[in-house]
Each structure stands twice: as C-alpha cells, then as structure tokens.
C-alpha cells in the first residue's frame, strides 16, 4: 500500500512555500476571509458564545460511549438494508471497498472529497485494480488532474491560480484556454456530469453520524457529494470511527458548528442524511449502501487519556484558517491529508511520533487554533504532550528521545535554575564572556552553533552588564 505520509519534508517544504509569493497571497486571502468570519458565526448561535464548550462536552460524552454508539449505528444501518464493515486498519478498509467493487462489477467510481480515504490510500488501490476513479469536488478534481495533493481541508486547490487551472484544463480537458473561474467551473461541470451519470459506484466520506437514527451525514456546497451518493448503483461511505454522535439534538449543534467552522456558513448548502439503500420500488437512489467504519490507529488515541480529546475533532478546518504557521507554510508541508494544527496533532499519532517530529515541534503554541475550534479542542496542550513523549521517550507510542544534546542542555539549565548561587554566577559570567566574544557595540549579529538560525534574519540584544538582580541590590530605597 502507498504511504500517505511525507512528514519528513516539513522544513524543506515550508521553506519552498514561504518563498512562493503567490502561495503566500492565496494563504493570506483564505485566512483573512474565513478566519475572523468563523468567530462571528459562533457567537451568533442561539446558544451564545458558550456553544463551543457545550459542543466539547457533547463530543466528549459521545467518545466516552463510542462502543455503544457504533453498535447502535451499525444495527440501524443494517436494519435499513445497509452493510456495515468494521475495518481495523487501512488495509482492511481498502480491501473491503475493493471486494464491494468486484462484487458489483464496478468499472468507474466517482468520489466526494474525503480525507479518510486519502488516509487509507484508497484511490491508488482502486486504480491498481483497473477501476477509473474521479474526484468530483472541484478543488479535488483540479489537483487530481494536476497529480498533486490537497493543501487545505476544505479548499484543496487553494494553492493554484486561476491561470494555472486554465492551463491545466486546456491541456487535460482539451478546452480553449480561459482564466475565468465561472467558465472553468462550467467546463468541469460538463465533464463530471458525464462521470456521475456513468459511474457504477459512488464513494463518500462522512462528516458526522447520528447513532440514534442510524444515519451518516455528508455536507457539500457543490452538490457533488449528493451526486455521488444518489446516481451510482452502489454507495460506499468511509467513516473514521470517532465521527458518531448520539442524538439528533447533538447532531444539530455539531452540524451548525461544522458549517460555521468550515466556511462561516449557518448551514452547508447540501446536507444529506443517509441511512441505507432505498427500497427497489422507489424511483432512484443506490440499491446498495456500504458503510466502512475505520479504526486505523484511532483506538490508540482513545486509550491514551492525553490524546483522547483529539477524537472530538470534526475536521472542520477552522484551526487552519487562523494558524499563523499554516498561513505561511500551507498544507503540503505537513506531508499528510491532515494539515494545519489538527494535522500537527493527528498526523504524528497516525504516522508515528518520531517520523513526524517536525509536526510536533514546528508550531509556536500561540493558541489561536484552540480559540477558533468549534469544539474547543486544546490542540496546544496536545502538541506539548507530543513534545513531551518525544523529548523523554514513550513506550506506548514507541517514541524514542529526539535529541540528546537538547536534553542535556535542558537538564543543565534546570540544574542551574534550582541552584540559585550557581545561576547567578553563570549569569554574570555569561555577560562577561559575551563582552569578550562580541566586543563591538550594539546587538549580536551572529550566534554560534544551533542558535545561528536566529541571527540569520535577526539580531539579538546582549545580556546586560548589569542584570536586574545587581541593580536591585544597589538601588536606593524609597524614603
């Protein structure tokens, strides 16, 4: 199976993104449009500003009863004539889908945007079996044609200009070159309409599921997911096992927040509840419905109290739209279907901590993501937790300490901080040493060794020859 992760390239890819002027503009644009708008949407909800905490509690309660909710959901869907398959890992999920495709003689597939199918590497597996797979979300379609990867959870082709899309379409679809988004959308509409009508199978993800009524729910503004789940004979839905909520009431709150968080909308344009295939004497709709529920590492998060909270995530991408780091490096740097702050936590837990260590350390912990998250997930806390496991090693996640020299430095510093006399002496000698090394007036312009990164673009103020503690001693007491 293809490895969906390239997390090792974080630094190199971020550098590449930062030097791409056009990408910088696009990222700033998407953040400016969606970032502040989501905040306004949350507080406009009838529940008031406390809705995020309320949603957090709902999600937490659902996750703590996940076994029950999954059973209830599966029973209902099965009772409605659907098939439910529980996949322990990516491989099982993929083989299940392949088996369904084979059974129904599937030659062509249309897909609605789904990150979990990227996580399990579904497209490659289907293509290897000779099945034609078309992504149908316009952004996903563009990057599929270009042979690239999504760079934003809800706006996957945000890194491409209209001119680039124009050239791509001229080349791949044989249309006359145009850079007009409306004309380009129309061109894709025409091509994809044929694909929808011809497809044997539709594959979608799942935004949420409601256990009590036995439905999965999907949302899109384009209508591609509805097409995908309505026109082909067979509908297969992939669902990360954590996506389920208990009741309709829970669903209401979370879906509103999902719409607000994702696109600053009150409600997404099309919301579909799918509970199973329709009876045969109904005029249309798939005659077979398969729900594939995927673990693929999620139960490990569930079992670790420090990371269980991550399963509350509804993948809305609001955190991407406010993250200063994402705003500079874009989605590709994360080397995973999950980018931005959510990706920085989820990806290491899926791909391996050591492998994805740059994702764990490469943020400023500014906390903007937590504030933007519609379910108030404490992403900075989990980033620190990941760093902790990596710094000191951790058996449950098979993490090995990342840096001996850094650990030594931290331990040494800690020793000094708990020995005040030594700390004082070190401070004064550092100040004196520095005066010798940097004899020139003014700030330091070049730092040595691992600190050199700082002074590549910045100077650094020197340690004062008279730190506060010595000034304090000699200060005049107020009379």
């Amino acid at each position: 199976m293809d490895d969906p992760f390239t997390t090792e390239k974080y630094t190199a890819k971020s550098r590449q993104a930062i030097s791409d002027k056009r990408l910088q503009g696009a990222l700033a644009d998407v953040q400016a449009r969606l970032g502040p708008a989501t905040q306004t949407m949350y507080s406009a909800q009838p529940e008031g500003a406390g809705i995020r905490q309320q949603a957090h509690e709902i999600r937490q309660r659902c996750i703590e009863n996940l076994d029950i909710l999954l059973e209830a959901l599966a029973d209902k869907v099965t009772g409605n004539g659907g098939q439910v398959f529980f996949a322990n890992d990516a491989e099982e999920a993929v083989s299940c889908c392949l088996a369904v495709a084979k059974k129904h003689g599937v030659k062509t597939v249309v897909k609605g945007k789904s990150m979990v199918t990227e996580e399990v590497g579904l497209n490659q597996a289907l293509e290897a079996e000779g099945v034609d797979v078309a992504e149908t979300d316009l952004g996903e379609y563009i990057i599929q044609l270009a042979g690239e990867k999504p760079s934003h959870i809800i706006a996957p082709a945000i890194h491409k200009t209209r001119e680039q899309v124009g050239q791509l379409f001229a080349e791949k679809l044989g249309i006359d070159y145009t850079a007009d988004p409306a004309a380009l959308t129309q061109a894709a509409r025409a091509v994809l309409r044929e694909k929808f009508l011809a497809a044997d199978m539709g594959i979608t993800g799942c935004n949420l599921a409601c256990a009590q009524t036995g439905h999965i729910t999907t949302v899109s503004n384009e209508g591609n997911i509805r097409m995908t789940s309505t026109l082909p004979r067979v509908h297969v839905a992939f669902m990360g096992m954590e996506r389920v909520v208990a009741t309709l009431k829970d669903h209401d709150i979370l879906f509103r927040l999902l719409s607000s968080g994702a696109a600053a909308q009150k409600l997404g344009g099309y919301v579909s509840y799918v509970g199973g295939p329709g009876p045969e004497d109904y005029p249309d709709g798939p005659v077979a419905f398969h729900l594939i529920i995927i673990d693929n590492g999620r139960s490990r998060m569930l079992a670790d109290p420090a990371f269980r909270e991550m399963l509350c995530c509804i993948r809305c991408s609001a955190c991407l739209n406010v993250c200063p780091v994402y705003g500079k490096i874009g989605g590709h740097a994360y080397g995973s279907p999950y980018s931005g702050p959510v990706g920085a936590v989820v990806t290491p837990l899926l791909a391996g901590l050591n492998r994805a260590q740059d994702l764990c350390f490469g943020e400023t912990l500014c906390g903007a993501c937590k504030q933007a998250c519609p379910v108030d997930i404490d992403l900075p806390r989990m980033l620190r937790e990941l760093r902790f496991r990596l710094a000191e090693g951790d058996e449950t996640w098979s993490a090995t300490p990342v840096s001996k020299p850094e650990k030594f430095a931290m331990d040494t510093f800690a020793w000094f901080t708990s020995h005040p006399a030594a700390y004082r002496a070190a401070l004064f000698s550092a100040s004196r040493m520095q005066a010798l090394v940097y004899a020139k007036e003014g700030p330091i312009r070049q730092l040595p060794g691992p600190l050199a990164g700082w002074t590549r673009s910045r100077t650094l103020r020197k340690i004062s020859s008279r730190p506060f503690r010595s000034q304090w001693k000699s200060r005049k007491q107020p009379s």
């Binding site: 996940l66 999954l70 088996a99 209508g223 208990a246 009431k249 997404g268 344009g269 509970g275």
Partner: protein
C-alpha cells in the same frame, strides 16, 4: 467476502475506554434518553399553534435569508398562481444541455394540484413524473425515470419543511419522489405551503425528533437539506453558482 471484525472492533474500543466506564446498558440508557425534553415539547406546541401573522413573519425572514444565497423565494396566492409562475420560468429559461425543454416532477398531491401538464400544454413542454407502479417492471421504470430526469432542464419538487433562518428546504425520501429531481436538472423549483415554514434548525430538529420513531414518517432512509443552488469557491475563492447541482433554485410559497 472478507472477514468483518465487528465484535473484536467494538471490544477493542471498549477496552480502550478503560476499566471504569461502567456497564453498557446503564450507559446506553443515559446516552439515548427515552423522553424528549420539555424545551422541545414547548417548541412543538409553538409550531403547531402558529398564528397566520407569525407565518407571514417567517415568510419574510425566509426571503431575507434566501437573497444572499441566490435562492429565489416567491410568495403566491394559490396553486394556480404557482403554476403560472412556473410556466413563466419555463418560457424564460433555456436548457443547459441539449435543445429540448422538458420537466420532471415528483408525484405529490400538491404538485398534482398545479396541473402543470395543462398549463404547459401550449408551450408543448412534456412533464414527466417519478411515479412508480410497484406491480410493473421496476428496473425498466427506474431506467426511464433516470433518462427523463437527465433530459429535463427543470425539476419540480415539494418539501417536508422549510427553515426560514437558514433558507433551507428539508426533503425526506418518500415513494414516487425521485431524489435526483432536485439535483440533476439545471433549475430546481420547490413548491411549499406557508405552514411548512419553521423558524430555525432548533425547531426543525424538535419536529424531526418528535417524528423520528413513526415508521411511515421517520427520517426515512435518506433526507436532504438544501439551502440554495449549487456553488463553489474552489478557484481562487471566487464564488461560482452551479458547480454540479442546479445553477438556479426557486421556492414558491403558497399562502392559501
């Protein structure tokens, strides 16, 4: 078929939740409460006892919310006026795919009452329906309905509910009512009555919650909320209407 791991899967989830989670049946009872809350009972009452003036307020609210979503809402006096309005639309619009104009509509009492077949006769517009005869060849009927839906430039549906605050129509899936009618044709027209308008999603969910267990009127195997025409902003965040679904959407609200 490959092995399904439901039991071991659920068991692993249960193990991962830790030893102190408590017995499943106790938790089940807690997480799926039997009785609906008082709040939703009150909401239901409010919906049922709404005065005509309040309904007009909701209609105005719906029209306000629909505007920015490119969703056209037109109040009409009665079914006959709705039919006239639709006829005018049909005359005005050109088909997006192919030359011929044809329509597809649900088989639904409210739509039957519009008698579009006669109203559109002078324009020579065929009006297809998605009615099914459960005694005849189902495959063949589905095939024909599919072809008619794809060939039609306008699809006409009713709806179960309409939500003013989000400008949303709610459609469960009932017999003789094709799902693709509101999806595949370039123009979607929904005809509703004013008493179907609810205030907001909270009210809608109270209603849905109330009827979720009635067999014939539960949530059905498929339900869709539609808030305006299809749209995308995937190319440089420029909003374009008509990505895959309808480019245009109209709601006619019958006041009488």
């Amino acid at each position: 078929m490959i092995q399904n791991h439901r039991a071991s899967f659920i068991n692993r989830v249960r193990q991962s939740l830790g030893p102190d989670i408590g017995p499943a049946d106790v938790r089940r009872a807690r997480i799926f409460p039997e009785t609906s809350e008082k709040v939703s009972q009150n909401l239901l009452q409010a919906v049922q006892s709404r005065a005509p003036k309040e309904r007009e307020t909701l209609l105005a609210m719906l029209m306000d919310q629909a505007g920015p979503l490119h969703l056209h809402v037109t109040p009409v006096a009665d079914p006959a006026e709705a039919a006239q309005q639709i006829a005018a639309l049909v005359r005005q619009k050109n088909p997006e795919w192919g030359e011929k104009k044809s329509l597809i509509r649900w088989s639904h009492p409210l739509l039957d009452a519009l008698d579009l077949e006669s109203v559109l006769a002078d324009q020579h517009i065929p009006v297809h329906t998605t009615a099914m005869d459960s005694q005849a060849d189902l495959q063949g009927q589905r095939q024909l309905i599919r072809e008619n839906t794809v060939a039609s430039f306008m699809g006409i549906t009713a709806a179960d509910y309409c939500v003013a605050d989000t400008a949303t129509i709610v459609m469960k899936t009932h017999p003789h009512q094709g799902r693709a009618v509101s999806l595949v044709p370039s123009v979607h027209v929904a005809v509703i009555t004013i008493d179907q308008i609810l205030t907001n999603l909270t009210e809608l969910y109270a209603v849905l919650d109330d009827e979720k267990n009635t067999p014939e009127n539960g949530l059905t195997h498929h339900m869709v909320f539609i808030s305006g025409p299809s749209k995308t902003a995937d190319i440089e965040l420029t909003m374009v209407h008509g990505a895959h679904g309808p480019k245009e959407m109209h709601i006619f609200v019958i006041r009488a």
